[in-house]
């Protein structure tokens, strides 16, 4: 049973990561910085519970807010560039964040052991869950509470005017400006919202693994983050969830026997999927089909 709880935790956290990239992708920006934001949330959240003895919920929320601020600040200069240049700029930022934590030491004595981030050795002993006697099942439930909350919020946002504005910017910046949309504020807002979600996911991640280190937050994680919404399509938030389940639940587990070759196959599969289904695995047509199969009335 613990295997499935572990799976559920992983899928939940990666869904948050994917959704953080989804929001930014709606405005047409491919951000490779989401793993960096995730790392900021993970370290800050962990430091608040371990070093300051906070409860996990306020720790997560503060970490998420702080990450959102960093993301918004990064957003201003980064969003002046577009397309491939933005990919490079955000990638560089993500790596800078990773290297910051690689060099960051801040340890304090707690009882007879030293706790806190210790550079390359990572940040161990993020033991809020075990210390408070949470079972794996309870942790999984806790994670999914937040995943559902974020998905509902984004679902509602998607259907409000804000969602239409984000998509309008993603489709045609010149036309969006001509109807009075301020591109900078929309993109920075999307970046900030994405940062908040990534920070939230990172803080949760730090606590369920109990041990984080800089190498968790490299280019591979950044690639996963952006691959989820691209594979899932931008029709709605469910696409991202399904893509995470597909990649983490099906591919990673089913292809485990391939060993190191597995990562190569991921790349190939993503390239294949983007060629075969350029609007994502779950585009508007498939979504409609699924809705009909599940008995929802298909709307236009």
């Amino acid at each position: 049973m613990d295997f499935y709880y572990g799976m559920a935790q992983l899928i939940g956290v990666h869904t948050l990561l994917g959704l953080s990239a989804y929001v930014v992708l709606l405005t047409g920006q491919v951000s490779m910085a989401q793993a960096g934001f995730f790392a900021i949330g993970a370290y800050l959240g962990g430091m608040l519970t371990v070093l300051s003895d906070w409860h996990i919920v306020p720790a997560m929320l503060l970490a998420a807010v702080a990450t959102a601020l960093v993301a918004a600040i990064v957003g201003f200069p980064a969003l002046r560039v577009k397309g491939l240049m933005l990919v490079v700029a955000t990638l560089a930022f993500g790596e800078a964040v990773r290297l910051f934590w690689f060099n960051f030491d801040y340890q304090v004595a707690k009882g007879d052991i030293q706790v806190g981030p210790l550079g390359g050795e990572g940040f161990k002993q993020i033991r809020f869950f075990p210390e408070n006697g949470w079972t794996t099942g309870e942790v999984a439930l806790f994670i999914w509470f937040w995943v559902v909350l974020v998905m509902l919020a984004l679902w509602w946002m998607d259907r409000s005017r804000a969602g239409a504005v984000l998509r309008a910017v993603g489709e045609d910046e010149l036309a969006a400006q001509s109807v009075g949309i301020n591109l900078t504020s929309v993109k920075v807002a999307a970046m900030g919202a994405g940062g908040f979600i990534a920070g939230l996911g990172g803080a949760i991640y730090a606590h369920y693994t109990t041990h984080i280190e800089h190498s968790n937050f490299g280019v591979v994680l950044a690639t996963f983050a952006i691959a989820y919404p691209i594979l899932g399509g931008l029709s709605n938030v469910l696409g991202t969830l399904i893509a995470v389940i597909f990649i983490q639940g099906v591919l990673v587990e089913a292809l485990r026997f391939l060993g190191d070759w597995r990562n190569l196959l991921f790349g190939a599969l993503i390239v294949l999927a983007m060629n075969v289904r350029p609007d994502g695995l779950f585009d508007a047509r498939v979504t409609r089909l699924l809705k009909r199969l599940l008995g929802f009335k298909a709307d236009a």
Partner: protein, 247 residues
Amino acid sequence: MLEVAALSKHFGGVRAVDELSLAVREGEVFGLIGPNGSGKSTTVNLICGVFPVTSGSITFAGEDITRLAAHRVLGAGIARTFQNIRLFGDLSVWQNLWVAQNSLDAKRSEGLISRWLGGARRGRAATEALLEFSGLGHRSGELARNLAFGEQRRLELARALAARPKMLLLDEPAAGMNAEEVGQLAERIKELKAGGITILLVEHVMELVMGVTDRIAVLNFGKKIAEGTPGEIQDNPAVREAYLGAA
């Protein structure tokens, strides 16, 4: 209403617009014509803040809008359409109008959050009226990219009107239209004029320009070569030469 004074735009060594001066009066339909590459669309883009101007000034309703950011030009009261239709294809017809409702009178009185998120109730009646006016009432839920060409043109005009502008810049609105559609467009422009909107019409289709405009300016190589009523322009030898290449 709109005053363009000694406006120039150089792209490298090319003078796309060269010392152009225009004065569009409130409530009139002003035509801007000229051969391909004469600087008509560049002029529209300069007024809308898409490119920075090289020199000169643009004043609208007494306000200097020369260096206004592109998204603020609408707030000043100027909306536009594009030569090659630029709708939000993956948004529905309704959503295309919804995002464009940066309504001028609502702008100041409402909080940032409600303007950003809401406006559903406030805008609904106005949007429905606009859809009816554009003959798109039955297409409200359709994705914009699935519309027929003529419908897309009408939607783009409706989107420009959604913010209730004082002035419209129409950049070749009749491009690709058949004679019947051009006739409908002419009626629409007259209705808008009757409704008090000032219009700058950039166009190639002469029957439209001659039929609906009050005054016309003719551009060639970025310079104004003539200005006058449609009748005067038709009889102007310099205009004939620019268009036909012979005196």
